[in-house]
Symmetry: C2
Subunit: 331 residues, 2 copies
Amino acid sequence: MSVTIKDVAKAANVSVATVSRVLNKKSNVSEEAIQAVNSAVETLGYSPSFLGRDLRKSETRRILAIIASADQSFYSDVIRGMEVAAFAQNYDVLIATTHDDPAHEMHLLGMLFSRAVDGAVLLGPKLDAATINALGEKHNIAMCLERLDNCNVLTVTIDNVKAGRDAVNYLIRKGHKKIGLITTLQRSQSSIDREIGYKLALKDNGIPYNEEYVYFGGYETEQGMRGCEYFMHLPSPPTAIFSISDIIAIGAMNYALSKGYRIGKDLIFMGFDNIQYSHMFVPHLSTVEQPCYAQGKLVIEKLIENMKASNPDHSLYTLPHSLVLRESTGD
Amino acid sequence: MSVTIKDVAKAANVSVATVSRVLNKKSNVSEEAIQAVNSAVETLGYSPSFLGRDLRKSETRRILAIIASADQSFYSDVIRGMEVAAFAQNYDVLIATTHDDPAHEMHLLGMLFSRAVDGAVLLGPKLDAATINALGEKHNIAMCLERLDNCNVLTVTIDNVKAGRDAVNYLIRKGHKKIGLITTLQRSQSSIDREIGYKLALKDNGIPYNEEYVYFGGYETEQGMRGCEYFMHLPSPPTAIFSISDIIAIGAMNYALSKGYRIGKDLIFMGFDNIQYSHMFVPHLSTVEQPCYAQGKLVIEKLIENMKASNPDHSLYTLPHSLVLRESTGD
DNA sequence: TGTCACATTGAAAACGGTTTCACAATAATG
DNA sequence: CATTATTGTGAAACCGTTTTCAATGTGACA
């Protein structure tokens, strides 16, 4: 059917071994052989099959990035970082989506167990720590952006506790004492950590924790609007609102805007993620930025190291975040 | 090193052929053999290698979706459609990004030539039609969302000419005669088609084409702001603006908003794509919606058909679009 | 009892490459 | 000139599966 290395060998009048040597630029092959093989490859339109090669070498030089869904725009920079690091060592990065289904996540990890890829990076896993730990024992798995408690696999993330704390401390430093938090019910570790940071910041400043100032919603803009609506109907509404994501913060701002609040003065907002769209909104949203590109790059570098190492590194790497201050906090 | 089918065969006291039969649920295998194999698989923790299997079967049951970058949020629905269609026939969908680099796009197509995947779908290719035609002769390639002139590969898209025409006709029907168009300089076929549609709509209504009313920018929000700024400084500014993408339209609206124009009354806006964020903005953006999920689903169905067929279908399939009317057009 | 159909099985070939190994031819060394 | 490296080469083993093919054992049937 399709043209194989044997056909090339026949056409070039050499053995398959020589063809392989030429194609892989091995030394110890004569100039004539190189010429003959190359022209045979050209005329036959030969492209070596990875199926044969991968089997023989027991490696694919492919790494799978498993994400929840393709619509999280800040994944983009992480992926970019991963690709750069991978490409530098001759690996390709493939992406697959779980749509928040743990069963499908497991199915995708099957590509790792079946050696269709050499390693996998989980960006926001839905599987539990115990399961991932068990798999991590035998396979090259890493996590990025999201850590898991008691999880013993290589992880690259930011310190979400400190990030939440820094964000809220900033709001307080701006002179605000009544701080609302909009977080989510479907709790990822990062949102839990950000909430812990919120509480620590209050404690740092001797402000008592008030349950009424915490609103649990979902990840969508609309839930942000609801959160803000809820706050504004309290007897004593917050004057500053920290949201665990920009999407939510934008919804909250939309509500405040529609009710005539002066954003940045009466009411200030802080988001999280610095999504690409966060500067599209008027007023521009202040937010916490995490180093997406750097996290992606690092996780791949460490994962590839692990793939060669006899005793893999299962550490947790924490990269620094930063505050991006814009109009929504009056900056 | 790692446990293979031979180890299982030995442990279960049967031949590798029998193990294979059990694992693939073939008929004609005794109950004892099934038990023995299954328990051996269990105790050894065996997971069959796709490397061996794929080579033997000369198929991978994997399809590669090649996108420009992961930050285009509306890709998400297309991918979802692709996955559903693929999964229904036991295929997996993998995603890879080109970052608008034709050379890297070609590198990724190399996975197809080298049989690491069975087929590939290009979503917005950077390669030219001639190149893609040549590759399409020998390999299972399809295109989605974006067509290419004179390109003879299976394509699923919408009629962007008609979509642009419908959008602009709607603006005119709203009583507007001075219609601005914000499009881009880096021209994809879809933006060219939308511009053609714009011109046709003017002609439909006997409105002369005015070069001043067309602004060429980039794909970012900021370019949209610039476009609107440019229009508003014309001696006789447009009263309606059609942008070839929502991102651009949102930028344009931001500018108008900041200058105090009454959006939906003095000045109306129409975007394109109906991105997830388009309803986050106040005022909500009217836009053209394309059936992303359906396009993704169809392209995979047709591609898989082609992979089995002796004479592949290289048609162009055009799915219907629709207008989504919101506040920005005064609806 | 002999023949036939059928279920179950294992040995071996096949898939398409890479790599080891042995060997010949040549070049370098004493 | 005899020995030793060095270079270039091809035959064959190998990677881990699936599948073909032939062989065995069993029960049914005439």
